[in-house]
């Protein structure tokens, strides 16, 4: 808006939905989720920078790279385990609860 707010939909809750589906055995979004985690990993490692990571999920990737740095350092990006998706889901769930309250 010229002199008011502009809207842009956050993708955080949908990302959580995708991770939730993986945890329920539905792998249809696994590639999408893994690609986002991989981009966050590359950003946190310095292999990519803020201007070269995927543009569509920039906010989410940046958030993961800064808030989940330790987690990203411990996982095998080519082979993410179920308990790691669970950890990510729980942490994001806690964060969204904090935002809601």
């Amino acid at each position: 808006m010229l002199h008011s707010a502009t809207s842009s939909k956050p993708t955080f809750s949908t990302f959580q939905l995708f991770v939730y589906q993986i945890l329920n055995g539905n792998n249809v979004y696994k590639n999408s989720v893994d690609n986002i985690i991989s981009e966050a990993y590359s950003l946190s490692k310095g292999d990519k920078n803020m201007y070269t990571v995927n543009r569509s999920y920039f906010a989410l990737i940046y958030h993961l790279s800064t808030r989940f740095t330790e987690f990203l350092n411990t996982i095998d990006i080519q082979n993410i385990k179920n308990e790691e998706y669970q950890y990510l889901y729980d942490k994001m769930q806690n964060e969204s609860e904090l935002i809601m309250h």
Partner: protein, 390 residues
């Protein structure tokens, strides 16, 4: 209960679709989009909702909301309501920033009854990749075109003086699409905190961001302000200083020129930045922003209107002859130049015995702008069809 709520939601959609499915549009992008919606609705109607778990119900809820939103804006983009001259100009600008052979976006307008709501951009339909992702994964359906929604007051749908601010709204779309200002805000904070700015840079940044912009708690404000500054400069490429002139008036004039909000910088600073850009004044802020634009979009921030397009035809009550699409936005600049400094040029040129009343001057220039763009559209479509035929 969850399943029944989904059935209710889908039934409401079917009712809305019954009305919208008969819409007719003047371009194939919207027709194609509506056709894809038809397949999507059919695919959902073929499903057995009782078999769904909570996550699958949530997917459908989001998809139905997506369809509702699409219908809402398609309904106000039908042939008889659509301000196609201004949208043609915006589409040309859009094509300069997003290669239409790679990604297809269609600008649609939502006409708002209120004047106060003024103009806004809603990128949810165009940029919400997750919705398209869900639709693709669940139904194997891909939308070839995506809709960019721009909201404008119904009363001003064919006003070419105010509608120039739609270039500012298009700027927001470009910013969100390429994610230009979000990382740039982080870069500014990092550079400040790592003492990368010299003394004159600091003076400049403190002027445009008159708060502790380097602190993490101000990142959202800094990002919001950068979004507005970027969109102002984006618009200035096409329409020069005239968007800022209008902004000064609608935001409360000189009395409110220094007012700043959490989302918007002061109009004074916005005007100053546009002046710096148009006059090519030395500015680390603008130079760094240009680099960020280039890194993310591969495009260049530069003046794109032509000063060769003059308003002499308008004074003679003739449409301006536009030769190429690159000259389209220059017509707005020429019209504003005439209107902004109006001293009865039309009456003098045409030997009128009496001065025109102000509303007549507005009407004449506004109609000539529409005619100028309309003529260009007809001519260029004719040229294209000639090429196809020959």
């Amino acid at each position: 209960m969850e399943v029944q709520a989904l059935r209710l939601h889908f039934s409401q959609l079917i009712k809305a679709w019954e009305k919208s499915k008969h819409n007719t549009y003047f371009d194939k992008g919207k027709d194609h989009y509506q056709e894809t919606l038809k397949y999507l609705i059919k695919a959902i109607s073929d499903e057995n909702f009782t078999l769904f778990n909570s996550a699958q119900i949530e997917e459908r809820r989001r998809i139905i909301n997506f369809i509702f939103k699409s219908l809402g804006i398609l309904d106000s983009s039908t042939t008889n309501q659509f301000p196609f001259e201004i949208i043609h100009c915006l589409q040309h600008a859009l094509d300069e920033w997003v290669d239409p052979s790679n990604e297809k976006f269609v600008i649609v307008t939502s006409l708002i009854n209120s004047y106060d709501d003024f103009y806004s951009f809603d990128g949810n339909l165009a940029l919400d990749d997750v919705a398209y992702n869900i639709i693709q994964k669940v139904y194997n359906l891909t939308f070839e075109y995506r809709l960019i929604q721009i909201n404008l007051p119904k009363f001003l749908a064919r006003d070419y003086f105010s509608n120039i601010v739609l270039y500012h709204e298009l700027g927001h779309f470009i910013d969100f699409k390429y994610q230009i200002t979000a990382p740039f805000a982080i870069e500014i904070q990092d550079k400040y905190n790592n003492k990368k700015y010299n003394a004159s840079d600091l003076v400049e940044f403190q002027k445009f961001f008159p708060y502790e912009f380097w602190k993490r708690e101000y990142l959202d404000v800094l990002t919001s302000h950068l979004r507005e500054y970027f969109s102002d400069l984006f618009a200035a490429q096409y329409i020069g200083k005239y968007s800022e002139n209008l902004l000064n008036y609608v935001s409360g004039g000189p009395l409110a020129a220094h007012a700043i909000s959490g989302t918007h910088p002061s109009t004074k600073n916005r005007g100053d930045l546009v002046k710096d850009f148009l006059k090519n004044n030395s500015s680390t802020f603008i130079n760094d922003l240009k680099v960020a634009i280039n890194l993310t979009s591969g495009k260049e921030l530069k003046v794109r209107y032509s000063s060769e397009i003059k308003n002499s035809n308008l004074i003679k009550l003739l449409p301006i002859e536009i030769k190429t699409g690159d000259e389209l936005s220059s017509v707005f600049v020429a019209a504003w130049e005439l209107y902004d400094t109006y001293t009865n040029q039309i009456e003098k040129q045409n030997n009128f015995k009496y001065p025109l009343i102000s509303s007549k001057v507005y009407e004449i220039i506004n109609n000539l702008v529409e005619k100028s763009i309309g003529n260009y559209i007809v001519t260029s479509n004719w040229e294209k069809s000639k090429n196809v035929l020959s």
